[in-house]
Symmetry: C2
């Protein structure tokens, strides 16, 4: 059983309408309000930032997801509604209420997300007009407008969709994400919305989404800083099965596999936005005692400024890589450590190997570099995507307001 | 009871001789081998890197410290003897043996440390000649030569000493450190040696040194990366009390206080080396449930690239500071959070405050900036020293070999 990539983003599954408008939250007039609407009641799931300084909309959406159902998602860009105290909570609730009213749906069924500057209040008059306008413009072809309206420093809208056969019918999954990893991470709050027209119970969907996020969006690191607003939402409306359908084990496996393909590719697109200016680093850790130890070692390497500077300078520095691995808090055995740059072994038995400098240079000059660390301790493995640390990163984030 | 700052570094206490020579480990001919010798048997203590990729000399010195006694310390710069496998272990042992032979002392009494390039073998012939030469040149005035010989990218030697009255006699403590924090952290393995001529049992000294290091060297972060070679050693030879002396409670308090003054100031000098190019950030966290939670929050802020970039750009960004605090894994209450830049309150009750932009600019332009975060949860507090993240940091570490 396979699947095919299709167009349509969050509107690819049946019964989802979307729109994106400019309502004046962003000073430059770019689109800044997106609306997604499910014609039928939908089950909802969500994964949210673990940062203790969660933005107001994160609190609101966490509560809606706990209820298990949602009909709409409203997202603004240009203002994060974070560190905004009680007024911020009221404003997040005001966004939901405005959407409920504009869409004529019962209370408590609207998910809210925000991204942009921290510490500023939302211009609620504009937001309310924007929601009215977005509701009026909802369409089955509005997916790209929505994907554009959630962008901050992203250089292009990011969406993806697939179809597969389940229960004798063609069913669909779609998604959009915002976040620009390579040089603009300061506003790279990661927001993603995933839709599907199969029917999934809330608990199952929450379980699958949490795991898929852990092995995709949570494997992407630009600078180790975690946003106040990071949010991944998922809605399933069952529109493909008007009479209902319980997934077989085989169908569930297929759908979960496609969900992971979708989240994995959306996560990759986060790191790749900005490509050309920077280098994509894929850090693979094998031979760990278990997968979670592999994750910790991979994350430590991906977050090491010294490792990332050396890739910017295109100079291989095995010592920095090994030292970063050694700082992960995972017990290691130096004598079993090997390191590969692409297919070139550059360290073995805990010792740095001599390599043809030209071969190494050729690998380091690539736009995408794969670094594999084998710990020699077991069968655990994990990967992390990151990028190099460049003077452009520092300059951008030294100037930038958010 | 007070204390006075004096000259003399590690040779300020009686009975310690030192020297520093150039033996050709560094390619540019600068001094690269330091020797410290105690005329009488001395108790030894040490604190070592927790990195799992510990360099060979770290293994050797850990073993010597466990024995509780040492007579000499030999340190080379220019080569870290890290990721060097079995040969590296043999070479570290070879350094100790060469010093034992040159000094005519029993086996197992020499502490060894190395700093410099990772993944390269020591040129042992040169190291052995260097040790012989350093032994021949030992003198009570050799402290600055030793402090110079342990430098890598440091721009000046760093030493400090003090005297105080204990048991009716003047006693001394001295120290030296290497490590250049601001823009050259890649070779900023931190090595420190502390000497005293009072008599301290091994266990007491180990306990005091561990605590003093925790609240000084472990409160300094340049980039969060931990070296394979970080080492702090301490020797007490009792030369001030030929007939022995057990410290009273009051004397012990005084000595511990001076030890903390010494380690605190040596740690500060690490971050300050390179000053002018960069900004010193002192991150203070108050109002935590306990001191260790305060440390975790302060470390998260000090290690945030986004926070550090904003100080490089001299633009206050309270959102980044709060988001970094929120990512420390410590439960917080946003509504109790306040943030101060110097004495200016810039956030209160979890909300960003409006401030006179000129006041803020004036504070941000200073060479040393103090940022205080009050969590409003209890009486725990901690500080962290760090510096901004500059394009110079990236450029240096992109070029640099180690």
């Amino acid at each position: 059983m396979g699947f095919d990539r299709i167009l349509g983003g969050v509107c690819a599954p049946m019964g989802f309408l979307a729109s994106g408008v400019a309502c004046g939250i962003k000073e430059d007039g770019r689109p800044d309000l997106a609306l997604l609407y499910s014609e039928a009641p939908a089950a909802a799931a969500g994964v949210f930032t673990t940062n203790e300084m969660k933005a107001a909309p994160v609190f609101l959406s966490t509560k809606v997801v706990a209820g298990g159902q949602a009909r709409a998602v409203v997202i603004n860009s240009g203002c994060a509604n974070a560190l905004t105290g009680k007024q911020g909570m009221d404003d997040a609730a005001g966004m939901a209420q405005a959407a409920e009213k504009a869409l004529g749906i019962p209370a408590g069924q609207v998910l809210v997300a925000s991204t942009g500057h921290i510490g500023e209040l939302l211009p609620m008059d504009r937001v309310r007009s924007g929601i009215d306008q977005a509701a009026a413009e909802l369409s089955p072809g509005g997916n790209t407008d929505a994907a554009k309206a959630i962008m901050t420093t992203d250089t292009y809208p990011k969406e993806l969709a697939a179809e597969m056969e389940i229960g004798g019918k063609v069913v669909r999954i779609g998604g959009m994400v915002k976040g620009s990893g390579m040089i603009h991470p300061s506003m790279a709050t990661m927001l993603a919305v995933i839709t599907t027209d199969i029917e999934l119970p809330h608990e199952t969907m929450q379980d699958w989404l949490s795991t898929a996020v852990e092995w995709s969006f949570n494997r992407v690191s630009v600078d180790g800083d975690q946003s106040t607003n990071d949010t991944v939402l998922m809605l399933s409306n069952g529109a493909a099965f008007p009479d209902g359908h319980v997934l077989t084990r085989e169908e569930a496996d297929l759908f979960y596999r496609v969900l992971c393909w979708l989240t994995g590719n959306l996560a990759m697109s986060l790191v790749k936005d900005g490509e050309g200016a920077n280098k994509l680093l894929r850090i693979v850790v094998n031979g760990a005692r278990d997968d979670m130890e592999a994750v910790r070692v991979a994350r430590a390497i991906a977050n090491s400024n010294l490792v990332k500077c050396s890739f910017y300078g295109e100079r291989l520095n095995v010592g920095r890589i090994a030292a970063a691995a050694g700082s992960a808090g995972v017990p290691l055995d130096q004598s079993k450590l090997s390191v590969f740059l692409g297919e070139h072994k550059v360290a073995d038995g805990g010792m740095v190997l001599e390599n043809d400098p030209e071969d190494v240079q050729r690998m380091m000059r690539r736009d995408e570099v794969e670094l594999t660390v084998n710990l020699g301790l077991g069968n655990g493995s994990a990967y992390f995507l990151t990028c190099d640390l460049s003077t452009e990163y520092v300059e951008f984030n030294a100037r930038e307001k958010s």
